[in-house]
């Protein structure tokens, strides 16, 4: 059904008024053939037949096809928004452009609001997400902090316990030293009692020295300063030594003790025998210490280039919860019978670290009340010829006499050490010069040219290091031996010939002098 002509005319007029259509005809090369309608409104003033319409309407590029194409809301640069229809026909292409500005503006307003809301929502989502991440990170950080705080508290408690225990450990031998020294000084004390007092003082001092060595060993291991010294050694001789040390201790407590070598255990090995000795003595020492009755035994076997040593005791055993912890520094098992026993709490830490240094491992199995079994497993090589080097055992102490007359300059501000050294050095046949600070040492060395200087590092006025350095600068060429309680690696090797760690043991001091003169 068609509209009456009057209505149709009205609609047509209304449409033309509102949409202001403009139509032009182009050929396939975009050349203008003809045009109708409101050209100027759409930016097409001064048209010429035959002109290339791509220059005026670049949006036509690529859109001349075989079917009708309708492109709503096309906004050319500098123009209003139009709706474009491209109608292919026999004559070419009719292009109709109609004003779409009003609808475009209306839609844009609506879409703008919608997009801004979406952007706001997306921003909020990102903020929420960031907040969640931050909260998660905060929770994680708090958990980590709590964990570290607990660790620090535990370490602090362990160290406090260690300090308390060490002061107790030191006080016992120290009180022996004080009391026996007082006894020896008392008027009328017999020579026999003085000798016994001196022996007791020596015993207590050696014990204190061992305690200090244990703490220093752990510090060295922890700092990674201990290096393996692998060399051939006699395995049986090593176990003989260990038996000689441990058997009397076990016998004192009424424990049976034995070392059993399995079939096929080699006679000679290449490994760090000093480390191995310390590991086994530590483990056996612990076993003897904590076992009140029964036995302690060491079983040794050889398999796949590994030495296996198992220390078994019939002691109180260790709770499963304590079994990992006791290998940590300053930690000891919670069991009363163990915590009341003397010790630094470093023995097992050192033992485990030494085993790891030897590329081996330690395994512990125990049940409370059923004793304890500790297995050590370290790699080693079989040595066929037997050891060529000397035993790792220290040389037995003996009196060192001066081979030739020599003058020693001793620089130290410790009067006791000076008196002791004076006694031993003079007895050994050396001439002695004494200096109580670095300045005096330099003066005397340059004046009297001693054959060797024993130089304490921490001396008043001028440190031992500075004094040695000044002497070397002055051309002093004789050996200078450093005496120090601190890290010998901090010393300048150019200035010092060798070093001795305090407390000084006189036989070692004399041996060192003999080696240089």
């Amino acid at each position: 059904m068609s509209f009456p002509s009057a209505i149709l005319e009205y609609l047509q007029s209304d449409f033309v008024q509102r949409r202001r259509p403009f139509c032009f005809l182009i050929d396939a090369d975009y050349r203008l053939q003809d045009w109708w309608g409101d050209a100027e409104l759409h930016g097409f003033a001064d048209l010429r037949t035959g002109e290339n319409m791509l220059d005026r309407a670049p949006y036509l590029l690529g859109h001349l096809g075989t079917a009708l194409e309708v492109l709503p809301f096309v906004t050319p640069a500098g123009g209003g928004t139009v709706e474009m229809h491209i109608m292919p026909s026999d004559e070419g292409f009719h292009v109709i452009v109609m004003d779409a500005s009003r609808e475009h503006d209306f839609r844009q307003q609506r879409q703008q609001t919608a997009n801004e809301v979406r952007l706001l929502h997306a921003g909020q989502q990102q903020l929420i997400e960031r907040q969640r991440t931050l909260i998660g990170e905060l929770v994680e950080a708090k958990t980590e902090l709590d964990h570290r705080r607990r660790e620090a508290e535990r370490a602090n408690a362990s160290q406090s316990q260690f300090i308390a225990m060490m002061s107790h450990e030191f006080r016992t031998p120290l009180s022996s030293i004080i009391n026996y020294a007082d006894l020896a000084r008392e008027e009328g004390t017999s020579v026999e009692n003085i000798r016994k007092s001196a022996e007791a003082i020596a015993r207590a001092s050696r014990h204190m020295n061992r305690l200090v060595d244990t703490v220093l060993d752990e510090a060295q291991l922890e700092a990674g300063h201990v290096k393996l010294n692998e060399r051939p050694f006699d395995l049986r001789a090593l176990f003989d030594d260990i038996a000689a040390i441990m058997a009397p201790l076990a016998a004192e407590k009424g424990l049976s003790f034995g070392i059993y070598l399995g079939k096929g255990t080699p006679d000679f090995l290449i490994a760090d025998d000093v480390c191995l000795r310390q590991i086994l003595i530590n483990l056996l020492g612990n076993a003897v210490k904590f076992t009140q009755s029964g036995s302690v035994r060491l079983d040794v076997s050889w398999e796949n280039d590994h030495l296996h040593a198992v220390v078994t005791d019939t002691g109180p055993g260790i709770d499963p919860q304590d079994q990992q912890r006791i290998f940590q520094a300053f930690e000891r098992a919670g069991d009363t019978s163990r915590s009341e026993s003397p010790g630094t709490g470093l023995g097992l830490t050192i033992t485990l670290e030494l085993a790891r240094l030897m590329r081996g491992n330690i395994d512990l199995s125990s049940k409370p009340g059923a004793g304890c079994k500790v297995s050590v497993d370290v790699p080693a090589l079989i040595h066929r010829q037997g050891p060529e080097e000397e035993s790792a055992l220290p040389e037995p102490d003996h009196e060192y006499r001066a081979i030739r007359p020599a003058t020693i300059l001793l620089c130290d501000d410790d009067e006791d050490l000076l008196a002791l050294a004076e006694y031993y050095l003079l007895r050994a046949g050396y001439g002695l010069l004494i200096a109580r600070d670095g300045e005096e040492a330099v003066e005397k060395a340059l004046a009297y040219h001693p054959d060797l200087i024993l130089m304490d590092i921490n001396t008043p006025r001028l440190t031992g290091s500075a004094a040695a350095s000044r002497l070397r600068a002055e051309g002093f060429a004789a050996p200078i031996v450093a005496l120090t309680a601190s890290d010998v690696r901090k010393l300048d090797s150019k200035d010092f010939t060798s070093s001795l760690r305090k407390p000084i043991q006189m036989p070692r001091l004399l041996a060192q002098i003999q080696s240089h003169i």
């Binding site: 791509l54 670049p58 949006y59 590029l61 690529g62 859109h63 096809g65 194409e69 309708v70 492109l71 709503p72 809301f73 096309v74 906004t75 050319p76 640069a77 928004t81 475009h104 839609r107 844009q108 879409q111 703008q112 997009n115 801004e116 979406r118 952007l119 997306a122 990102q126």
Partner: protein, 171 residues
């Protein structure tokens, strides 16, 4: 001297900076105000590819969308290449741009394109991680981190597209 003209389309999610990128490229201008595009804006810019070769780019800046309908596909007809734009502060817009690229390829076949991760000036709000950028670069040959605000890498990216179109045109 040779001249030729090519139509390129700018595609991507809403508010990623498509119109601002073209405004920077064509008129070297930037406005902070966000004005959404309805339909398509058409602009032109002539670039010199060699001493004797210029290319007139007819740029169709298509309204932002997640997916194309019949009208959008009609806008894309006759294009020789595309500029895909994403917003570096909205990682989802990267996925949208990649999806739009696939839709165009399914409809019109493989065409040269460059991928712009825009708004690099918003460093505080930047959400694309180095790993995501690396992954994008391993997947696509021509990825540019751009800023319509400062102009960083905008011209470089579009000129790269022009060269790809020319290479295809004259091969």
């Amino acid at each position: 001297m040779s001249h030729f003209s090519s139509k390129i389309c700018v595609l991507g999610d809403f508010a990623v900076g498509k119109t601002s990128t073209i405004e920077r490229f064509v008129n070297n201008q930037f406005s902070e105000k966000y004005l959404t595009t309805i339909g398509v804006k058409v602009d032109t810019k002539e670039i010199t590819l060699a001493d004797d070769l210029t290319l007139k780019l007819v740029v169709w800046d298509v309204a932002g969308t997640h997916t194309f309908g019949d009208v959008e596909f009609a806008y894309l007809r006759g294009a020789s290449g595309h500029i895909l734009v994403a917003d570096g502060t909205r990682p989802d817009s990267v996925i949208t741009a990649l999806e739009l690229r696939k839709q165009v390829e399914d409809r019109y076949g493989e065409l040269p394109f460059v991928f712009l991760v825009n708004k690099s000036d918003l460093t505080q709000a930047w959400e694309i991680t180095d790993e995501q950028e690396k992954a994008l670069r391993s997947e696509l040959a021509d990825v540019y981190i751009t800023s319509a605000k400062t102009g960083d890498h905008v011209a470089e990216a579009i000129e790269r597209l022009g060269r790809m179109i020319a290479a295809r045109e004259f091969q």
